[in-house]
């Protein structure tokens, strides 16, 4: 397989960036260097992020928004600075619209509980899609059960896209809320979010965007997309686990009741009642992930140093090579769009006659880390009548050698099972 015959060069050298990530120095039991192809699940951390965490705990740590002393003021300024950095990174019109939560799952639950239970009732329609991660599916099922609203799903085409006719037909029923992902974690599909959002708004719906798989990998501007809420996780974008964000339109956030209640989300508490703090603090009950916010800010700085357009171009380059490599190998079935403009750096595939769990175990013996399973998207597996798939996902530290190793691992697996 002559991957060297690339017609266009990669925009940057992924292998060179691996020096920034200590995890790649860790010896692997296979005796080979680690090929990490599971970034869609979670990403390794660059040294800058790890040092930012240590620096926050070591030199800038106190509780935020509370202490009348220098250290607390310092911690608060850095925490709010991270909010500002994230707002800028995702094109939020105001940093006051960025709420720190644990992860994208919590962000979506916040909308489902706070906006959903206030605004929806029997007869209302919630529209999600068949390609969603369980995080953008189960909260809507629960919301429908709690409010008497109806939940429908946009169907998928055979090549893993949202069926435009089915989408139009369901929008015509006048949903109140449309919940979609920008990039499918199970199929890699990039959805035309701006276009869908325009149609959803015309139909009278608000749009909740699951941006967990897009914000780490491509330029995302929530204002330009026009969506009403967007959810993301820090750990998928080189940042720490335990911090994520919900972005929402100020007028919607202002009108919503709190999700969790307790300390720091109030302005005045008496034994009779409570006045809520302003956004975003209204939604941040209790002590937040303080050091993790500093880590997230460092991750954003690292990604901005590369440039998100470059990150996307690099992953597009890797996708094109991996997609054609997989297509050339016998006994491999690829899922998702055969179109580099509509497919992120996430490839789900199946080896004929070999269960994905066996694939991942044999890959591990070759030093190649992939995900095998239903990817928290069981309806996708049902749609394509598969028990599971193997998924390879790319990020900044991957390069063509990794794709070569992926191809070798597939051949090794097929030799064990003698299927090709």
């Amino acid at each position: 397989m002559a991957l060297e015959q690339a017609t266009t060069p990669d925009v940057f050298d992924g292998a060179a960036l691996r020096a920034d990530f200590p995890v790649f120095d860790r010896p692997h039991r296979s005796g080979r260097s680690l090929v990490y192809l599971d970034s869609a699940a979670s990403a390794p951390k660059p040294r800058a992020v790890i040092e930012a965490l240590a620096d926050a705990y070591g030199h800038h740590y106190a509780n935020v928004h509370r202490g009348i002393y220098e250290l607390s003021e310092d911690a608060t300024a850095r925490f709010e600075g991270a909010r500002r950095a994230l707002a800028r990174f995702i094109g939020a019109p105001s940093e006051r619209e960025v709420i720190f939560v644990r992860n994208a799952t919590e962000a979506i639950n916040l909308v489902a509980f706070s906006w959903g239970r206030t605004n929806l009732g029997p007869g209302d329609l919630i529209l999600s899609t068949e390609m969603e991660h369980h995080a953008n599916l189960v909260p809507w099922q629960q919301l429908a059960a709690a409010t008497g609203a109806t939940l429908e799903y946009v169907r998928l085409t055979d090549d893993g896209r949202l069926d435009p006719d089915d989408l139009a037909a369901r929008l015509a029923k006048g949903p109140r809320l449309v919940a979609i992902s920008q990039v499918s974690n199970a199929l890699g599909t990039i959805n035309p979010v701006a276009e869908i959002t325009r149609a959803a708004h015309e139909a009278g719906a608000i749009v909740v965007l699951d941006a967990a798989q897009s914000v780490p990998h491509m330029p995302v501007d929530v204002a330009a997309l026009g969506v009403d809420f967007a959810a993301l996780s820090g750990h998928k974008m080189l940042g720490p686990s335990g911090i994520g964000a919900l972005w929402g339109r100020r007028e919607l956030l202002d009108a919503m009741p709190p999700f969790m209640t307790g300390g720091s989300m109030i302005t005045r508490v008496t034994l009779e009642g409570t006045e809520w703090n302003e956004v975003p603090w209204k939604f941040e009950a209790g002590t937040p992930a303080i050091a993790e916010a500093a880590g997230l800010a460092a991750a954003i700085q690292y990604l901005e140093g590369i440039g998100m357009a470059n990150v996307r171009a690099h992953e597009r380059f890797l996708f094109e090579h991996a997609w054609s490599m997989l297509g050339d190998l016998p006994g491999v079935r690829r899922l998702g769009p055969d179109d580099a403009d509509a497919h992120a750096g996430v490839i789900s595939f199946v080896l004929d006659g070999i269960h994905p769990h066996d694939v991942a175990t044999i890959f591990d013996g070759e030093g190649v880390a992939v995900r095998a399973g239903h990817h928290c998207a069981q309806p996708v597996m049902l749609r394509y009548d598969l028990p599971a798939t193997t998924r390879a996902s790319f990020y900044v530290y991957n390069d063509l050698d990794d794709i070569e190793r992926l191809a070798d691992a597939i051949r090794a697996t097929q030799r064990v099972f003698a299927t090709a």
Binding site: G373, P387, A412
Partner: protein, 144 residues
């Protein structure tokens, strides 16, 4: 190559013993591995006293480990009493595979045991304590 995939396992995977569904049957249970969606069902025919296994079959789809485990386990069950089935040690089910099973694949190896317990005692059957089994495997001096 990974020694998880010894010929013994692959032979059971390619040509599983006791494959299918028994009709009629006295006991039946189906379950799946929540981490990967592997599916397995078991049907058991008992003797006239409804005390001992006369025949057993398994069916489903899944990885080599879960399917070979069902093939190997069901080979052992004919002639056993219901009490003996209930008393089966999940550690033995794992050991009988003859290959080192790490934490990531333990549920695959135990699905057959879980389904068998479901057939005998019903839906209240639970997954065995994985930490205990892994600790036992290490004490036994198996490969890490």
């Amino acid at each position: 190559m990974d020694n998880l995939y010894r010929d013994f396992i692959l032979e059971h995977y390619r040509a599983p013993h006791n494959r299918g569904v028994l009709e009629p049957h006295d006991l039946h249970f189906a379950d799946s591995n929540p981490t990967c969606g592997d599916e397995l069902s078991m049907t058991i025919q008992l003797d006239e006293a409804k005390q001992r296994v006369v025949d057993v079959a398994h069916d489903g789809r899944g990885c080599a480990i879960s399917q070979a485990s069902a093939s190997i386990l069901t080979d052992e069950l004919r002639g056993m009493s219901l009490d003996e089935l209930r008393a089966l040690d999940p550690r033995e089910v794992v050991e009988n595979l003859g290959v080192p099973i790490g934490p990531a694949r333990l549920k695959c190896a135990l699905l057959s045991y879980k389904v068998l317990q479901g057939a005998v005692i019903g839906a209240e059957a639970r997954w065995p304590d994985e930490a205990e089994i892994l600790a036992g495997a290490n004490e036994g001096g198996s490969a890490p």
